[in-house]
């Protein structure tokens, strides 16, 4: 398809111009009605009693299509992922029932009264903690994204995958996590000077284990007990998980049962054969914990059709960085030839989702929508071409390049690699 050049900057509207369009508009005065016969034409919800109270609220029955998309091994149904429907969501907090999942052998059923967390190895005092005990420590809260290291990895393939935005890039979610600073418990156990790594082990059917640098545990790691105010969901680590803000999902170990302090990493399966990034020269990047800055236009996006031509559309999406705060998100409608700064929704938090938006005047022309994030380390989200030039096509993990949505003249939107 031919790409028509356009002056992209002019497509983005000023708010003042928008406001002016609706000035001077007024409604006719309605005559007072007294007759009862209009009861029939009122919405049904106004002429009968509503549903009863509920012990635990559920989404509207009209929102049934807003679901996680499950992709699991057919012979091992507990090994796979479910994608967060980012293209259906607004704001920055992912609802608990829609937070992405990655399990290696299903969701365990753990009675918190039976669960113990052991901190041992290179410590002065090996200690065990009950969940009730952990709840009595000072609770800290922080809003933080968690992103699977393998999020967006279909974008390494030679052809762009045609699935909705969240179902290709939604192995990332953002929640308010509350729990105990890991530092407090390590201090209580008394770290020995040789303790440089902790082997975190889960109580799931994979006994998942990974090695985590002690420096991170002493910095901003949390034993999370609560997710968006309520106790963790089983699929997010109930009764207790590690939160390592900004670091790839695999090290945010769910269902945590042990931190074993060691001098060296254990070289577990999930830090050697998995979650390592194969480079073109055949070597692999290991312990590539940080999730670099990334952004994604969630709407309009793949699979949607712009209904009005011409029309005004609110281009919106999410940006995040494992290194700090998002400082800038630029949006392009011409495949990166020109960029306009989007508005960033406050508050802009460290290692958390930042919502961006920008009104866009579409006039039926072919367009390629892109977003590009910059974080407070100065890092700028790369193009797909740049990322692949640096890392090759077989890295599988840490795909953080610009994602492009192609808008056809009829308003339909598909995923494209513009390079």
């Amino acid at each position: 398809m031919a790409r028509s050049p356009l002056h992209s900057r002019r497509q983005f509207l000023q708010y003042t111009a928008l406001g002016g369009a609706f000035a001077g508009f007024s409604l006719p005065v309605l005559a007072a009605q007294t007759a009862p016969d209009f009861r029939e034409i009122l919405p049904g919800s106004m002429t009968r009693a509503g549903a009863d109270f509920s012990n635990y609220g559920q989404p509207s029955a009209y929102e049934k299509k807003v679901i996680r998309w499950i992709s699991a091994n057919s012979e091992m149904t507990g090994n796979g992922v479910s994608w967060s429907p980012l293209h259906e969501l607004q704001g920055t907090i992912t609802p608990n029932g829609l937070h992405f999942e990655r399990h290696h052998n299903g969701v365990p059923d753990i009675d918190p009264a039976q669960h113990e967390l052991l901190i041992d190895g290179l410590v002065e005092r090996p200690l065990k903690f009950t969940i009730d005990a952990l709840k009595r420590y000072p609770q800290q809260s922080r809003i933080s994204f968690i992103e699977c290291g393998g999020n967006s990895n279909s974008s390494f393939r030679s052809k762009p995958i045609q699935t909705p935005a969240g179902y290709a890039h939604g192995l990332v979610s953002n929640a308010e996590w509350t729990g105990v600073a890991v530092k407090l418990l390590l201090e209580e156990a008394g770290l020995k000077p040789a303790a440089k790594w902790a082997i975190a082990e889960a109580a799931d059917g994979a006994s998942l284990n990974v090695s985590i640098p002690v420096d991170k545990l002493l910095d901003d790691a949390m034993l999370a007990l609560y997710q968006n105010g309520e106790r963790l969901r089983p699929e997010n680590g109930y009764p207790v998980r590690l939160l390592l803000p900004g670091w790839e999902g695999i090290v945010n170990v769910k269902w945590l049962r042990q931190l074993r302090l060691q001098q060296t990493p254990a070289m577990t399966r999930d830090e050697t054969s998995q979650y390592t990034d194969l480079m073109p020269d055949g070597t692999a990047r290991q312990f590539s914990f940080e999730m670099a800055a990334k952004s994604l236009i969630t709407s309009p996006s793949q699979g949607m059709t712009l209904p009005d031509n011409p029309g005004i559309y609110q281009v919106t999406g999410l940006a995040w960085s494992g290194r700090g705060k998002i400082t800038r998100v630029e949006v392009s409608a011409d495949g990166g030839e020109s960029w306009v700064d989007a508005d960033l929704q406050a508050p802009i938090l460290d290692k958390a989702f930042t919502r961006f938006s920008l009104p866009w005047q579409w006039q039926g022309q072919y367009a390629v929508l892109q977003s590009r994030a910059t974080d407070d380390s100065g890092y700028v989200q790369p193009s797909r071409e740049q990322l692949i030039a640096n890392r090759g096509r077989h890295g599988y993990y840490h795909f953080n390049a610009i994602i492009s949505w192609e808008v056809y003249e009829d308003g339909y939107i598909s995923h494209i690699y513009p390079d």
Binding site: H104, K128, R136, A206, N209, T268, R269, F289
Partner: protein, 183 residues
Amino acid sequence: MKMDISAISIRISLLLVLFWCSAALLAEPQYQALGQSASELTEQPQWNLTISPDGTGLPPGSGDAKVGQQIFEQRCAGCHGFDAIGASAMPLVGELGSLRSEYPEKTVNSYWPYATTLFDYIRRAMPPAAPYSLSSHEIYALCAYILSQDGIIEANVELNEVTLPQVKMPNRDGFSAVYPNNR
């Protein structure tokens, strides 16, 4: 009672000092140390599941490829395929030297840097319907079967807690740590 300016300022200063002290006390987190001594747990096998590359944590036992093949066919081939070449689950053998090719395949034998990881992972996670159902002897035998398929060990070599850590995997030096530089 009349109060001059200096007396007022002294009182204000005192108030400020008191306020600062109480604020400082509140700023220091106060909590009870609730960890219970776990010295009795730390030596127990169920809390020593992780095996290090130097062999720390390996249980006693032994097995060879011949026994391993029988176990593999019974317990593993359904997902990993005949001869461990992969089916619904990933291939475990072959593809040595493929890592810098157009189509790299990350099998145990082509990619994994440590043989000890194989024991660690089989014990904790395989087969997925029944983790920890294989004996240590069976796991050593499975390791021997998989590794011998690509000649990493000879077919008649018995693997045990001493010999497994001595196995040099072909891709042993294929990894570079990004942490702590993070770039």
